[in-house]
Amino acid sequence: MATETLTLGKALNAGLRKALEHDPKVVIMGEDVGKLGGVFRITDGLQKDFGDQRVIDTPLAESGIIGTAVGLAIRGFRPVCEIQFDGFVYPAYDQIVSQVAKMHYRSQGKVRIPMVIRIPYGGGIGAVEHHSESPEAYFAHTAGLKVVTCASPQDAYSMIQQAIASDDPIVFLEPKRRYWEKGQVELDGPLADAYPLHAARVARPGTDATVLAYGPMVRTALDAATAAAEDGRELEVIDLRSLSPLDLTAAYESVKRTGRCVVVHEAPGNLGLGAEIAARITEECFYSLESPVLRVTGFDTPYPAARVEEEYLPDLDRVLDAVDRTFGW
């Protein structure tokens, strides 16, 4: 079996390539995805190898990208749409929420929209405004969409292929600041053997407190766990992976053992995923909890100027601070 060390970005590229090879109905479309290979080079080389009918440089209009992809899906294609940055998805919001999400429901199952909407999301790259946002809650709140996010090169490689193979419309969130992080990727294993798309996974086992994270915050949580271990405290880190549907099976099991839970995400805390997760864990693990479920999130501000984003983003210290507070209850 071929295992390679790849960056998360290269792993996505390899996964997209596999999907294009596997199914002639797969088409990639978006702004600058062709000749340029995308502003993050995630589609690098794909137009050259698969042609401009499979990897389509679109006009610069996000609603048009998603709306035409709906039509292609009705025609039998499997569009993979790239939204260039998180903050540019909103012009497509109506098409995503009112059309993509509802077609199967409205048609009583007669119309499927097997679409993947790839969005690089989150901060930490020193970008200008609209380039660092975390819009996952908008989509996770919408029935008819599924929302997933990867945190490692291996997951990037297999999850993008699973998402494309799925008949559900899926918002696929890519942690842009982790694009350059490297990891081992098993390239040849059959997709059927890959870890399930809509399942959470224990990223680091532990016994003293449970930290739930996803996307770019998994690395932060793992770093926090390493630091905590030096102080003799073992944190269990769970990578949620699927944000809609949420798979909290592993989280429930973990919190029932540890009695303490911290949820971490970059998006603002108010009505974010953390609120839903805290509610469900409270309902499911009430008698096991030693403290309330705490959230470590971005603040309820617009994403701030880049020179203060390090203070805005949850980091190792804020995660450990929250863990400490669960012990001080």
């Binding site: 679109t58 209009a61 009705i74 109506d94 559900d168």
Partner: protein, 392 residues
Amino acid sequence: MAKGDPGVTSRGRRAAPRSKRAAVAGEPELVQLLTPEGERIESALGPDGTEYRVDFTDEEYRGLYRDLVLVRKLDAEATALQRQGELGLWASLLGQEAAQVGSGRALRAQDMAFPTYREHGVLYCRGIDPIMPLGLFRGVDQGGWDPNEFKFNMYTIVIGAQTLHATGYAMGVAMDGKTGSDDGEAVIAYFGDGATSQGDVNEAFVWASVFNTPLVFFCQNNQYAISEPLERQTRVPLYQRAGGFGFPGVRVDGNDVLASYAVTRHALDNARHGQGPSLIEAYTYRMGAHTTSDDPTRYRIASEVEAWQAKDPIARMKAFLTRQQLADESFFAEVDEQARAESVHLRERVLAMPNPEPVTMFDHVYPNGSPELDEQRAQFTKYLESFEGSAH
């Protein structure tokens, strides 16, 4: 009708010296083949010099008349059903029958249509049971026909959204290599004058143009977007917008079923042969309200409605058939009787439509299902069952 021969010939700029520009006072660009008085115009020129004409058999002319009458009668029945509380809402097509039947009959079997929520006439022409949209407006479903079976997409209520779907579908037709011959596929996108202000429609124009998609944009300009008149949407005739996007546009008399057919057939055939998109502005008038929730007397005057009444699409077709001795009173009576019988049948079936079981609201949210929804359904089912056998 509309079988075999397309029933329309169109020539390029060089042809047709005999043709005259169809004329309605102040509307020199309007393509018209049947005047409001029922007089046939042999051919008419579009703004780019295309000559439009139709060559129907007597039976086909009568068939178009039958379509118009049936579509209007079924629509009137739906309005009545709403007034009696049997439908939650109805968006009447009254006045727009010719634009819809003409364009709908111009479609070939392989062509795909993307409607708004008012294209009951096109739906009828596609062979879909007219009961289908009534489920949506009664509130028992959200539209239940199979778009790919009938080549007629679901109704779209968000204004203009479907024009992008049509454009993407048409891109797919081209990618599938289904253009460039007489058997090629074409796509038609329906929308109204109000929709032309939407970003999605303008994006669809851009996409269709730069990808040269086999697509006909069919705009029924019925003069009003609910209460707002055309002047609030545009300062130029709508069909002229096409030029800025790089494809041809034509304005047709939307109350003339023959011209609507000819212009649409020509545009569809151009599309299926790989010549790209075009825009048709079917100039018509919404004789009724926007929907049954609307009161048009608040925003338009009776004399305007009366002026359009004189351009009625069915009256002119009837006058034509009578003048040409293509039909007699017994034919008209037979058509009326068929329309009456079909509307009675429609009414009976609407009244018999059962309400869906509550738990069906959980069906079809996702093709692959969702464990969260499975759990909600199970909990809700249990909750409902808790009432069984109780006094309630």
